[in-house]
C-alpha cells in the first residue's frame, strides 16, 4: 500500500523533517533541532503538531443518536452541553479498548477524534452499531493541527479572534480566510493549547502563519516525550484490546451516572472490576539514576517474581530524568512501592510514582 501524506508534507520537508511511517502515513519524527529542543520549546513557547493522520468522524442525526451513542460510550451524553468535549473509549463486550477518543457535541451531532491506526476499524464498528439513518463522515478532506504550549493562546488569538475565550475541553466553529474551522481547547502534552480542524487546502497557509507568529513545528518524537511526562496514554502501548479503562486507571473518564445502571458495551466488566478491583493497574514508574526502561521491560518484585511490564519509557527532558508507565499487579501499585526492572539482563531499582511526571495547570475558565 502506498504511504499516505498529510497536506503539510511539503512544509515538513522544507523544515528539514526526518520522516517515519506511522499508521500508514509519512509523518515527521523530528525536525532539525532535535527532540529535546522541540520538547522544551513546546513547554516554554508554542509547538505546532501535524496530527492530520488522526480520524475526524462527524456523525449527524436526531435525538435518537445520543441514545444510541450512550449504548456504546460510558458517557452521560444527554447532559453533554453543545461544544463540550469528553475523553472516552470504544470498547468490546469485555471492556477491552478498541480505541481511545475525544467526543465533542456539535450542532445536530458529534465530532469524534480517533487514533490514526484505529480510525478505519472504528468507523466499521460504529457503522455496524449505529442505525443507518445517521450520517457518518470520516472526513479525509480536513487536516488536524495542534498548537500547544504557553504562548499558543496569544499566537492563535492573533490570527483568529476570541479563541482565548474557549474553556478547556470545549470547542466552537470559527471563521478564518473564508472558511469554517472547528477549534477545541485541548491537547496531548500537558500544556494549554488547541486543536484546529481545517480543510486540507488551507492547512499549509494556516501553519505558515502560525510559524510566522513564532510557533515552531514539533515532531512525533517530542509529542511522545511530552505526553509521557504528562502521564497520558498512547493507544497500542498503554491501551489495547486486552486492557480495560479500569485497569488503565482511567475510571475518571467514565461518567458517574452511567456506573449505576450500565447499559453500555463493556459495562458488566467495568462494574465488576470497579467493585472487585482489577488485578493489574497502570502506574507511573521512575527508574533510579539515568537508566531508561523501554516498552516490554519486565518488572519484578524483590523475590524475583514478575509483577508487570513497562508499556512506554523514555527520558523526560523537562523532568531531566528517565520516566516510564506500565502495568503492575495491584499489590504493587501504591506510590513509592519499590520494584525492579530488567534492562539488558540486569535488574535495576525503580519505584512506582504518581502521575503526571510533569504538571502545569490547564486553563479552566476565562480570566
Amino acid at each position: 500500500m502506498e504511504i499516505k501524506k498529510t497536506s503539510l508534507n511539503k512544509l515538513h520537508q522544507i523544515n528539514k523533517a526526518k520522516f517515519v511511517e506511522f499508521a500508514g502515513y509519512e509523518m515527521p519524527i523530528q525536525y532539525g533541532r532535535g527532540i529535546i529542543e522541540e520538547h522544551k520549546f513546546t513547554r516554554s513557547h508554542s509547538g505546532i503538531f501535524d496530527v492530520s493522520h488522526m480520524g475526524q468522524l462527524f456523525i449527524y442525526g436526531d435525538g435518537s443518536l445520543t441514545e444510541e451513542l450512550e449504548k456504546i460510550f460510558p458517557l452521560d451524553l444527554k447532559n453533554l452541553k453543545l461544544n463540550c468535549s469528553k475523553y472516552s473509549f470504544l470498547m468490546n463486550e469485555d471492556a477491552g479498548i478498541y480505541d481511545d477518543l475525544i467526543i465533542t457535541k456539535i450542532e445536530e451531532g458529534y465530532l469524534i477524534i480517533l487514533n490514526a491506526a484505529c480510525k478505519d476499524k472504528d468507523f466499521e464498528i460504529l457503522s455496524n452499531l449505529l442505525s443507518s439513518k445517521f450520517k457518518m463522515n470520516l472526513d479525509n478532506n480536513r487536516s488536524l493541527i495542534a498548537i500547544q504550549g504557553p504562548k499558543s493562546v496569544e499566537i492563535l488569538n492573533s490570527i483568529i479572534n476570541d479563541v482565548d475565550k474557549l474553556n478547556f475541553m470545549t470547542g466552537n466553529w470559527f471563521d478564518s480566510d473564508n472558511q469554517k474551522l472547528f477549534i477545541t481547547r485541548s491537547g496531548y502534552t500537558g500544556e494549554d493549547g488547541f486543536e484546529i480542524s481545517i480543510s486540507n487546502d488551507k492547512a499549509e497557509k494556516f501553519v505558515e502563519n502560525l510559524i510566522q507568529k513564532g510557533a515552531q513545528l514539533i515532531g512525533l518524537g517530542a509529542r511522545d516525550t511530552l505526553r509521557l511526562e504528562a502521564g497520558l496514554c498512547l493507544y497500542g502501548h498503554e491501551l489495547d484490546i486486552n486492557k480495560t479503562p479500569v485497569e488503565a486507571n482511567l475510571r475518571w473518564a467514565i461518567s458517574k451516572s452511567r456506573l449505576s445502571n450500565g447499559g453500555f458495551i463493556g459495562s458488566k466488566t467495568i462494574m465488576s472490576q470497579i467493585q472487585d478491583g482489577a488485578s493489574q493497574i497502570r502506574v507511573g514508574i521512575k527508574p533510579e539514576g539515568r537508566l531508561i526502561a523501554r516498552e516490554k521491560t519486565k518488572i519484578f518484585d524483590d523475590q524475583d517474581k514478575q509483577i508487570g511490564e513497562i508499556t512506554s519509557g523514555t527520558f523526560g527532558p523537562s523532568v531531566n530524568g528517565p520516566i516510564a508507565m506500565g502495568y503492575v499487579d495491584k499489590d504493587f501499585s501504591k506510590v513509592d512501592t519499590k520494584i525492579l526492572i530488567e534492562v539488558r539482563g540486569k535488574k535495576h531499582p525503580a519505584s512506582v510514582c504518581a502521575l503526571p511526571f510533569y504538571k502545569k495547570n490547564y486553563v479552566k475558565g476565562v480570566n
Binding site: I29, Q30, G34, I292, F315, P322
Partner: protein, 126 residues
C-alpha cells in the same frame, strides 16, 4: 598519535603506543539524535573485536556500542555517563568512551580511514 580509523558500526579509534581510544562518530550521533544515557564497559574487563562494549540511548531508542579492536579496558570516560549530552556536543573529541590496551595492532588494518568512512557513512544513510 596514529591516524583516526573508523568501523562500520560507526566507532572511531586512535592509537597511542599500545593504548587505543574509542568513541562514536559524529555521523552516528546525528543518526541517533539527542543522547540521554550512556553505559560503558568495566575497567579491567576484556573486550573482543566487534563485541558489545557499551550502550547509548537517545530519546527514541537504545543502541549498542561495539569495540573495533580487542583488548583490555584500561580507562572509561565517566563524564559522558554523568552528562550524556556531551556525546552530541563533542563526539570525536572530549566525549570518547573507553581506552583499551590492545592485543593485536593488525586488527586496525581492517578499519576504514576518514575518506573511506565518510563515503561509507554517506552511502549507508541514503
Amino acid at each position: 598519535m596514529s591516524e583516526v580509523k573508523f568501523s562500520k558500526e560507526h566507532e572511531w579509534i586512535t592509537l597511542e603506543g599500545d593504548v587505543a581510544t574509542v568513541g562514536i562518530t559524529k555521523h552516528a550521533t546525528e543518526m541517533l539524535g539527542d543522547i540521554v544515557f550512556a553505559e560503558l564497559p568495566e575497567k579491567g574487563s576484556n573486550v573482543e573485536k566487534d563485541g558489545t562494549a557499551g550502550v547509548v540511548e537517545s530519546t527514541k531508542a537504545a543502541s549498542d556500542v561495539y569495540t573495533p579492536v580487542s583488548g583490555e579496558v584500561v580507562d572509561t570516560n565517566q563524564s559522558i555517563v554523568d552528562d550524556p549530552a556531551k556525546i552530541n556536543e563533542d563526539p570525536e573529541g572530549g566525549a570518547w568512551f573507553f581506552k583499551l590496551k590492545i592485543k593485536d595492532s593488525s586488527e586496525l588494518d581492517t578499519l576504514m580511514n576518514k575518506e573511506e568512512y565518510d563515503k561509507f557513512a554517506k552511502e549507508t544513510s541514503n
